[in-house]
């Protein structure tokens, strides 16, 4: 879809610029005339939503830094100062904090959409792997950002997560001391986390640009998984995809702002309104909700090193997903068994989240272990096998055929709930 450019500036100034630096041409070809499959549904709008969330987090973040103090004696108070004294600080701080949660809601939907429609399959492997890299950078950024308010959960979350590296054989202790810049999470740790929390979003922007570049080289996937074959299968990005993205974004922002204005603390932990105390661990420490499934995997394994390996492995396994899924058919719509496995994985992931939120006692441990086993079995055993054993349903001959069949009701293709 990196076809030849149709940009034809009529404005002499734009033509003058285009002859010297074809940036307007790049923008026009990428976001106006760029052809997208005509059958994209609303699940495909989350890429655009994520882009806006990233910009929203960067803007609110830059503004918050104008009032925040990264020092153990002042960090907690400076966040309260933002919430109470700074003009509109209350909304800006909540927008950023709740925005982190909604950034993750959108990215989980985006990833699940990729898994459902087989978006990771050839030729989009690098596009997918860049996405996994983006998710990892997001997790690191979110984790460091949560430390900055220097509440009890900030401190103990930081301590537990950095201590994960002490599981590394031989160098573990030295690595952790190096990460902390001391013998415990302290001022040195807070200041470096602040520095990196400011840096990583810009790294994120860089990887996102690569992600979008890769997308524009291979062209977008679509719910049928059938590649674009002719101009009939596509529409111009603007206005069609732009408007659809904008509409989905508006709905998303209605929910997001409802949380910002009316339930700003719903997704957080009240204990984080208590200042960090290195001598007392809260009764029940849990990470933010978006890390819970991975936290459950960490705790499911009774060995320290293997637990850490399993936790990182549960995300790193996504890197080889394009090669684990042996089916030639992309979309779950045409894969009856895979479709059920996909929903089982979603349920499993949700169960892991619930387990992660509960104390590691009694039968929660067993449930966590079964769910962890199933999680890895899905990727490492079931996906390779199902691809070989399953008989897919017949694919439509083209995207426009599928659209016409759906609209005339000839062949009621199973569509996921929108």
């Amino acid at each position: 879809m990196s076809g030849h450019s149709t940009y034809n500036p009529t404005n002499p100034v734009m033509k003058w610029v285009d002859d010297r630096l074809p940036l307007p041409r790049l923008m026009y070809d990428s976001f106006v005339s760029y052809p997208v499959p005509r059958n994209l549904n609303y699940w495909y709008t989350f890429g655009g939503i994520l882009m806006i969330m990233m910009v929203s987090q960067i803007i609110t973040g830059i503004v918050l830094v104008m009032h925040y103090t990264p020092h153990v004696d002042m960090a907690f108070d400076s966040v309260e100062h933002i919430r109470r004294d700074v003009n509109y600080g209350n909304i800006l701080q909540k927008w950023h904090a709740v925005g982190g949660s909604f950034f993750f809601i959108a990215v989980y939907i985006h990833i699940a959409r990729g898994m459902y429609y087989g978006s990771y399959k050839a030729p989009r492997e690098i596009l997918w792997m860049l996405g996994v890299a983006i998710f990892l950078v997001m997790m690191a950024t979110g984790f460091m950002g949560y430390v900055l308010p220097w509440g009890q959960m900030s401190f103990w979350g930081a301590k537990v997560i950095t201590n994960l590296f002490s599981a590394v054989p031989f160098f573990g202790e030295a690595i952790v001391t190096w990460l902390w810049g001391g013998f415990s999470v302290d001022n040195a740790t807070l200041q470096r986390f602040f520095s990196l929390h400011y840096l990583l979003p810009f790294v994120l922007v860089g990887v996102v640009i690569l992600h979008v570049w890769a997308l524009h080289v291979t062209g977008q996937g679509n719910p049928t998984g059938v590649e674009v074959k002719s101009g009939q299968d596509t529409l111009a990005f603007t206005p069609f995809a732009t408007v659809k993205d904008a509409f989905a974004l508006s709905v998303f922002f209605i929910v997001f702002t409802a949380f910002v204005f009316f339930l700003p603390d719903y997704l957080g932990h009240s204990i984080n309104y208590e200042e960090a105390n290195p001598l007392v661990t809260p009764e029940h420490i849990v990470p933010e909700w978006y890390y819970l499934p991975f936290y459950a995997i960490l705790r499911a394994v009774p060995d320290k090193l293997l637990g850490v390996v399993a936790m990182f492995g549960s995300i790193l396994v996504w890197f080889i997903l394009p090669w684990l899924d042996t089916s030639k058919v992309r979309s779950a719509t045409y894969r009856p068994i895979f479709k059920q496995l996909f929903w089982l994985l979603m349920i499993d992931f949700f169960i892991l989240g619930v387990v992660g939120a509960n104390p590691p006692e009694g039968w929660w441990i067993t449930v966590g272990q079964i769910a962890t086993f199933y999680y890895f079995a899905h990727f490492l055993i079931l996906l390779p096998l199902v691809g070989l054993l399953e008989t897919p349903r017949p694919l439509p001959s083209s995207i426009s055929d599928a659209v016409l069949a759906k609209n005339t009701g000839k062949q009621p293709a199973a569509q996921p709930a929108e």
């Binding site: 301590k159 902390w180 810049g181 001391g182 013998f183 470096r192 001598l279 661990t281 705790r299």
Partner: protein, 186 residues
């Protein structure tokens, strides 16, 4: 210009290798300060020792003091707790190492090797779970010792790991008695 080719090529090779070597050494020299600045600074390392008076601690009572940013638990153990700790065979311990900075490395994790001889009622240990660094809660857990609320590790009355994901006994920091009831940690 010389017509001989060989000397010229030698000169080029030398320039390539020399440039590459300077670049590699330069990059390494640049990396060292950039990486090492993250290690504990001199001011952090300087906060190395504290003194604690043990006399106000009643039998069955624990105190927590802060040393190098971490909690140190000092417990005045009851006779029953000492008996329990002594009764455990080494074979039952997941970590048979004493983890005591004051005894020879690799000593067995007997109760005697976890305390100072003649002062066995005072157990001094880091309040940092060896799993992921939370502060274990005293008088909790299945072994009358400490229980870590984060991931469910149980320690016994000598601070030895008995059950749960933590791999090691709670470490005993370097300390010495300055007088009968006063210790210096660090």
């Amino acid at each position: 210009m010389s017509t001989a080719e060989a000397p010229d090529e030698d000169r080029r090779d030398f320039l390539y290798i020399a440039t590459g070597a300077v670049g590699a050494v330069g990059a390494a020299a640049l990396a060292i300060p950039l990486i090492d600045q993250m290690n504990p600074s001199a001011s952090v390392l300087a906060l190395a020792s504290i003194e604690v008076d043990l006399s106000p601690i009643e039998e069955g009572q624990s105190i927590t003091v802060k040393w190098r940013g971490n909690p140190v638990i000092i417990r005045h153990r009851t006779a029953k707790e000492i008996e329990e700790a002594k009764a455990v065979p080494i074979a039952d311990l997941p970590d048979p190492d004493a983890r005591n900075a004051n005894v020879t490395d690799g000593s067995e994790a007997t109760d005697a090797n976890r305390v100072v001889d003649g002062k066995e009622q005072y157990l001094v240990q880091m309040g940092v779970c060896t799993h992921l660094g939370c502060v274990p809660i005293g008088n909790e857990g299945e072994y009358d010792g400490w229980f870590c609320p984060c991931h469910g590790s149980h320690y016994d009355t000598a601070g030895r790991i008995r059950k749960g994901p933590a791999p090691e006994n709670l470490p005993v920091p370097e300390y010495k008695y300055l007088s009968d009831a006063k210790i210096q940690i660090g």
